[in-house]
């Protein structure tokens, strides 16, 4: 075959379409409407609650490293951490960041520091609040347990990619009286957050959280651009389902190019 790898034509077309839409919507001057995501809206409320109670806010990044396929979720998580850093610095609330993978540690530290500076309270940054745990699943979970039990955060914000430890965080968070807002891109494990947390973000809402919190026009519009791709996916799915039901495999063959 020519320049394109076998079986990757449609994937490349989709990639190109997302890129074109991203560039197009970036230039827009007005923000498009985003529907309410309850979990994201409650983040600021949770921070205020923590401030009133005089207890810290806890957040984490999960155990997956940045060089894995979970990088988009980690980046989305870092966006949220940036917002948390700003808001907690403004209100004088302690923010504890429990970091699993070591390659995320310097990023999280810098984002926390920058958030405090952006809030006009650079002295709010405490390096001791950014704690490296480990990227082993259960030792990481045990360490988060310990932080929850000893330091009793009033708000737990876990938005990113989590595995089976998701259930532990929700249950222990409830026991310590914290409000837990969680979002997981690991779909099979999202159910753990749904049953144990107060507010849950599902799937793409995790990626949208950062844009939502930033109130930045170009980032909000970028989220809107993804909706166009979703509509295209819905149309393709319906057409494909009808075609296959009628015994035609043309559509499948085209998408397999």
């Amino acid at each position: 075959m020519g320049i394109l790898s076998e079986g990757q034509t449609c994937a490349l077309l989709l990639f190109a379409l997302v890129a074109i839409l991203e560039i197009y919507f970036h230039g827009q001057k007005t923000a498009r409407h985003l529907r309410r995501i309850e979990g994201v809206e409650k983040i600021d409320e949770a921070i205020r609650r923590a401030t009133e109670m005089g207890r810290p806010v806890l957040s984490s990044t999960g155990i997956d490293p940045l060089y894995s396929t979970c990088a988009p979720a980690i980046i989305a998580n870092l966006d949220v951490i940036g917002h948390l850093a700003q808001e907690t610095a403004k209100l004088g609330t302690q923010l504890i960041l429990a970091i699993g993978p070591s390659d995320v540690l310097p990023l999280a530290t810098e984002i926390y520091r920058e958030g405090c500076v952006a809030a006009g309270v650079p002295e709010a940054f405490r390096e001791d609040n950014v704690r490296f745990i480990t990227d082993e699943q259960w030792p990481y979970t045990a360490a988060i347990f310990g932080i929850m039990e000893r330091e009793k955060p009033a708000a737990n914000i876990f938005i990113g990619r989590y595995h089976a430890e998701a259930l532990h965080f929700g249950v222990i968070g409830k026991r310590t009286g914290a409000i837990t807002i969680a979002g997981n891109t690991e779909l099979g494990m999202s159910s753990f957050f749904v049953v144990s947390c107060d507010y849950t973000l599902l799937g793409e809402e995790v990626y949208a959280a950062g844009a939502y919190l930033s109130n930045n026009i170009s980032r909000i519009n970028a989220i809107s651009s993804q909706d166009i791709i979703k509509w295209i996916s819905v149309a393709l799915t319906m057409i494909g389902a009808i075609a296959v039901t009628m015994g035609s495999s043309i559509f499948t063959n085209i998408l397999s190019l």
Partner: protein
């Protein structure tokens, strides 16, 4: 000032863009072998850099727990215990090697049981979480409960024996689950691709440790 801005943002963004384009080209296009090998080398470089950051992590642990011990903050004795175990594992690992009998003894008798204890908590927590959460407050939750009951009994070894319909209903519920799950996979993938493109175009600065655009 300008140089600092260039060093801090422009050059890293350029590096990200070039590395991203190389990796994407290797995936989607039939590139020459040299380009393919470069893409593989890039991935290996990423892993090596990541390994270096473990040193940062170790420093973080020592700093935090050392400080907790000195300040006698709550639970400081646990910090002593952590540092003692850390030292034991490190010394034995360096002295005898990570695959030696001595290290394996420590691993099998300390790390593995504790790991498995934490994993076992999952079963107990699930029971309690289901008991508290699965109350039919509305129709959606009611439907979820019914499906869950069939899934539980269909999955239990005794279920298939009691009635062959239980596993069959469970299998059918998987098909319901499959439709929703595929939808989530597609939208999550679109979100991830869009995030990746924003990183490539330099619009996501959190990758550089910067909070906003």
């Amino acid at each position: 000032m300008k140089m600092s801005e260039t060093l801090k943002t422009k050059i890293p963004k350029l590096i990200i863009f070039l590395c991203g384009v190389l990796t994407i080209a290797d995936l989607y296009l039939n590139v020459p072998v040299s380009v393919h090998n470069s893409a593989i080398t890039l991935q290996k470089i990423a892993m090596v850099i990541s390994a270096f950051s473990i040193g940062l992590g170790v420093a973080s642990i020592l700093t935090h727990h050392g400080g907790a011990i000195m300040r006698r903050t709550g639970g400081w004795y646990f910090s002593i215990w952590l540092l003692v175990l850390f030292a034991i594992f490190a010394i034995v690992g360096f002295a005898y090697g990570p695959t030696s009998d001595q290290y394996m003894w420590l691993f099998n008798n300390i790390f593995v049981p504790v790991n498995q204890t934490m994993y076992s908590l999952l079963g107990v927590f699930i029971v309690y979480a289901l008991y508290r959460t699965f109350q039919a407050k509305n129709i959606e939750v009611g439907v979820m409960i019914v499906v869950s009951l069939f899934t539980l009994i269909g999955r239990a070894p005794i279920g298939g024996y009691l009635w062959s319909g239980f596993p069959a209903i469970r299998e059918w519920c998987k098909i319901l689950n499959l439709g929703g799950y595929r939808a989530f996979i597609i939208v999550s993938a679109i979100g991830a691709v869009a995030m990746g493109i924003r990183v490539l175009l330099g619009r996501e600065t959190s990758i550089l440790g910067r909070g906003g655009e």
